[in-house]
């Protein structure tokens, strides 16, 4: 069952070496309060971060880089933060680059008990290197394995006290997928409402996926 807790209490779940999924497309829909708390968490060392981007220099997830918390980043678009490029060139972080759709689908697969899947995306390109290829109906497909997290830090608009989540506009993005794919799911929300206040048809993340709720402290990026 879900617990409502402080950012620090929630982030105490992070252990050195963990894989941490972080929602958001750039800074939109990113759990900025949780990211700020991650920076203060003792266990947040040697992390593998799964996120579309690593924020921007000094903003959002970008704050983790100068603090040397990230061992590896898995995502689709790191060039929006030149510090990632520089840290990678210095050999300080490992990077696994996936097409954005393959990234999203890998996370969904991690949460949905899919062992692996085939996509056309990336076939015949540099990103196919080291991947198994299979011809299906005459087209080239690449085999992709799922991504799973130890912890997911996600952002939603409203939660009810059971932990059901509803999202707002394009701040949804990777958040519902990541909610399914990690052992411990921590959701930062604008508001926690009574059970029954969310429409059953607009709950995009049913509460069984969510472990901890944290009220957003409106941390700026």
């Amino acid at each position: 069952m879900v617990s409502v807790c402080s950012p620090a209490e929630a982030l105490a779940h992070v252990q050195p070496g963990d894989t941490v999924m972080v929602g958001g497309f750039g800074l939109v829909g990113a759990p900025l309060t949780l990211i700020a708390a991650l920076l203060e968490a003792d266990g947040a060392r040697d992390l593998t971060i799964v996120s579309n981007n690593l924020g921007e220099p000094g903003r959002g997830l970008g704050k983790l880089l100068p603090a040397r918390r990230v061992r590896k980043a898995i995502g689709s678009y790191f060039t929006s933060n030149r510090e990632v490029v520089e840290a990678h060139l210095r050999g300080e972080i490992e990077v696994e680059l996936l097409p954005q759709g393959t990234l999203a689908e890998s996370i969904r697969a991690g949460g949905a008990g899919i062992g692996a899947f085939y996509v056309r995306t990336g076939a015949g390109t540099l990103l196919a290197e080291g991947k198994e290829e299979r011809i299906i109906d005459g087209e080239r497909y690449l085999l992709q394995f799922p991504l799973k997290g130890d912890v997911a830090l996600i952002r939603a608009h409203k939660a009810d006290k059971l932990g059901n989540l509803a999202y707002l506009k394009t701040a949804r993005n990777f958040n519902p997928d990541m909610a399914t794919a990690a052992k411990t799911v921590i959701a930062e929300v604008d508001e926690i409402v009574e059970v029954g206040e969310l429409s059953p048809e607009e709950i995009a993340t049913p509460h069984l996926f969510v472990d901890h709720l944290v009220r957003s402290e409106g941390v700026s990026a």
């Binding site: 393959t102 995306t121 394009t170 997928d177 995009a204």
Partner: protein
């Protein structure tokens, strides 16, 4: 690249769109296409970060921090818009539910294949949704200046840049020329007013045949 050239390219691309189709716009010149649709043509914009029914850029006081396009720029919501998770958005894209993707290009080869994600000698650290759109959209239009900023040719026999997909685009639109990709090669189907087949031949590094069409989906006047 002057903004007027970008607008000219955007207008030439827009002339190829059909009323009601579902369109995904890449970053840069493609983003301009929405503002230059011919009269009577209205398209529905999908953005891969999880929205169908993207509206125009809001005024400063109407910016919603939770509402951006794939370029992370503020957009607005049209009536009938909907939102969905990234996995669903790319399911739409890979599943061929987007009619047309309009993408920028670094280079294009003689088979119409696009390179638009990576520069040789630099670390490969960004790809975004370009590869997904290329394999998934029913039709892909490359919207690009005919020459690079340094004056070098962008449409070449073989790209020096890594390809984004092995699937060719369907149409290449520059401020000078429009090429259709047919049977594995380029066909020049339109020459912009003020340009010429000769200029295009001199400034295109890939072979092409010429089969000019009187109008590319719209009267010539409408696309300037």
């Amino acid at each position: 690249m002057s903004s007027s050239v970008s607008v000219a390219i955007a207008k030439r691309v827009a002339a190829h769109l059909t009323d009601g189709e579902i369109v995904n716009l890449g970053i840069g010149i493609p983003t301009l296409v929405a503002d230059h649709l011919p009269d009577g043509v209205d398209v529905v914009l999908q953005t891969e970060n999880g929205m169908l029914g993207v509206g125009p850029t809001p005024t400063d006081d109407a910016i919603d921090p939770n509402l951006v396009n794939a370029g992370k720029l503020p957009v607005s919501e049209l009536p009938g818009a909907s939102y969905f998770a990234s996995s669903a958005s790319f399911g739409m894209i890979r599943g061929a539910h987007v009619d047309t993707a309009i993408l920028g290009a670094l280079q294009l080869d003689g088979q119409g294949r696009i390179a638009n994600w990576s520069i040789p000698g630099k670390p490969i650290l960004g790809v975004g949704g370009a590869m997904d759109l290329l394999v998934g959209a029913r039709r892909v239009i490359a919207a690009t200046t005919h020459l690079a900023k340094d004056g070098s040719q962008k449409i070449v026999a073989e790209t020096a840049f890594p390809l984004t997909a092995d699937r060719p685009v369907d149409l290449i639109v520059t401020e000078h020329a429009t090429f259709a990709v047919r049977d594995g090669g380029l066909v020049l189907i339109d020459v912009a007013e003020g340009s010429s087949v000769e200029w295009i031949e001199e400034n295109t590094g890939a072979a092409f045949t010429v089969a000019l069409e009187s109008a590319a989906g719209a009267p010539q006047e409408a696309v300037r």
